[in-house]
Symmetry: C2
Amino acid sequence: MSAASRARKLNPRLEIVVLEKGQHVSYGTCGLPYYLSGQVADPEELVVYTAEFFREKRNIDVRLEHEAIEIEPGTKRVRALYRGAQPIVLEYDKLVLATGGAPELRILGTNLSNVFTCNDLAGAIRLRAFVEAERPKRAVIIGSGYIGLEVADALVSRGLQVTVLERSGTVLEAVEPEIGERVEAVLAQHGVRLIKHAAATTIAGDAQHRAVAVQYGASGTEPADLVLMATGIVPRTDLAAAAEIQIGPTGAIAVDERMLTSRSSIYAAGDCAEVRHLVTGKPAYVPLGTTANKQGRVAGENAAGGNARFEGVVGTLATQVFELAVARTGLSVATAKQHGFQPDAASLTSTSQAKYFHGKPILVKLIWDRTTGRLLGCQMAGEEGIAKRIDVAAIALHARMRVPDMLHLDLSYAPPFAPVWDPILIAANEANKKFRHS
Amino acid sequence: MSAASRARKLNPRLEIVVLEKGQHVSYGTCGLPYYLSGQVADPEELVVYTAEFFREKRNIDVRLEHEAIEIEPGTKRVRALYRGAQPIVLEYDKLVLATGGAPELRILGTNLSNVFTCNDLAGAIRLRAFVEAERPKRAVIIGSGYIGLEVADALVSRGLQVTVLERSGTVLEAVEPEIGERVEAVLAQHGVRLIKHAAATTIAGDAQHRAVAVQYGASGTEPADLVLMATGIVPRTDLAAAAEIQIGPTGAIAVDERMLTSRSSIYAAGDCAEVRHLVTGKPAYVPLGTTANKQGRVAGENAAGGNARFEGVVGTLATQVFELAVARTGLSVATAKQHGFQPDAASLTSTSQAKYFHGKPILVKLIWDRTTGRLLGCQMAGEEGIAKRIDVAAIALHARMRVPDMLHLDLSYAPPFAPVWDPILIAANEANKKFRHS
């Protein structure tokens, strides 16, 4: 819808058709956990604009329950099915693929009736209805990424006993160990049981087709009244691949800075597309709403004849797990190594306010390249002052700053907002000390 | 004390002497309004480290009640008076001037007994004692800079009727009109009477040497039980000037990036010294704790034989006025013009959180050069998410970003922290639209 709206803005005369497989357009996917908890009462609150709004106010022909099933780049046609039955053919001059991502469901039993995902509005509505109607007691969440943990938070607030199964040894993919420890501590404080190194293999069901337990590892079993699949998102690329549009090394659709795919006149944007990671310089798959919106806007502008560019991301992510906010940008130590950097890191705890305001602790970790001093990443955890503070590091990554460039950044200060040396500056000073001696 | 501590860190064997005219060292000046309000109960809470701490733990010879009265650069000597009477002579190899700033007191009657300043701990202690003992009803604050407004907030919380007299037509120097309006609105909501274009001329006293009213403009008079002078800070340069150390165009001591003055072996740092403004490239006088700390650290490192540099500031400032946080960085439209830029600006109101979280409004104004697109400044006001969000613009200024560089910054997002398009990005998009058409 970002692409459609942007195209409309640039050209009031374009004929713009949007094919949407489901019932909803333009809603805040990141708000779904808050709909589950009830903090957001109605699904309508998550909807930014309705299909009617787009039709009436923006003259965009949104067609719900229309699933695109084939692209013919040669004849510039798209075939779709209305309500799974009625075939439709549309011609296009420019096409934008915004097919999104799908939850990864690679274990047995995900089709049982009380197995859920929280990746789209329909899934969240189904899950909340189940929780409210059936009053389940025990939830098992498979995956401890930010969606898994945000839903854990929501289900605890609904009174469920929650167990999170994590395949690897750390929560929140690519999070540094110090940050992971803080997350694990807050989960434990709220009674969430986290089992690491626990790769789920099968969701076991009963005769009523209901999940009753999740099996993991060699012999683990965790009983469940509901199961949430939160093992990540994979790009929906079937349509593109069938049309011989190039799929990149990450498995998502390859695009250039203009969001153009390998086929002329076909753009891709959002969770189906790759993005350039500005720290590594390489394509990455980072399915986030912020990126999707930016890509959509650029694709829409270019589809309407403009010339917009989206340079890429630095990998910024923020999430709230109970009272703990966690944020990161750039690379972790491990991913930096994988990309050929020689990472070094410094971490410390400072506070969110002047000492005499008794601010909350802020854990900051800076990661840089020991040969060049270039900033590679930053991670933070704390109860306040986290999310927008990570943005300082994000911009520093955009500007390709080196640690020595960060010592004296003129960051805002007043006692209610920060200590006189902002935690980021303290971390930069620590980092610089290490860098000078390396 | 930053300089002394840094020098000690670099060289455990240096003999380090600090001459302090008053009774206190190393306290949070920016916390004084919160001591006035009582939010900070005791002066000790504002003290970061005591003189004893510096003497015992850092082997720094802090001498309280010692006023330096003359520098002899030729013989490398400093003359001081202990308790205003006992002369002392000290020799130095390196000297750091950290004489700070003094409140500007250019009207008649500032020596009356109930006229106060809030620029140092002694002044704040005197003011709070007066408020608690005498229970004054009506306060007149002369000056509506951030200190004036923070003290207004503190005195309102103590039950006083507060009038603020502002010489110019705007509160908070160099603040944009839209932001100023928000500040005026919050002052009015809390019953603070603001009189603009009201240059105070005389504080009128009674036979007991007590201020009873402030006269302003041609014929205005405002009754007062206490008067606060908050008309700004001027650098204390007497010592330096007498030693023929160069005073810069701003009236403060001229220093290079190493904090060296025009005299070899003499450094200056803090509110007595100039600083380079990285947006204009010119010297500026920006007396703030953040800058003073950075300059002190650099001066101390260099005085101890190191080679540190402080490039300068971008003019970041944040303050809290009742529930409203106000922040700015860079230049205002007016100051940009004065410095030869061709400023253009865009302002808009967004929110601090996702729509369905019902975040608080955030007013953002971006200022850029219409010929180059270079970002020149940013100002914000709102009840939450202000102070650390201004830092994004501050870093963008450090990195000399242009408006088109800011459209797709990878800023953090999650519903509790920001809308999916952060207010800064929305403002950058607005700015870019204007820039492309200019």
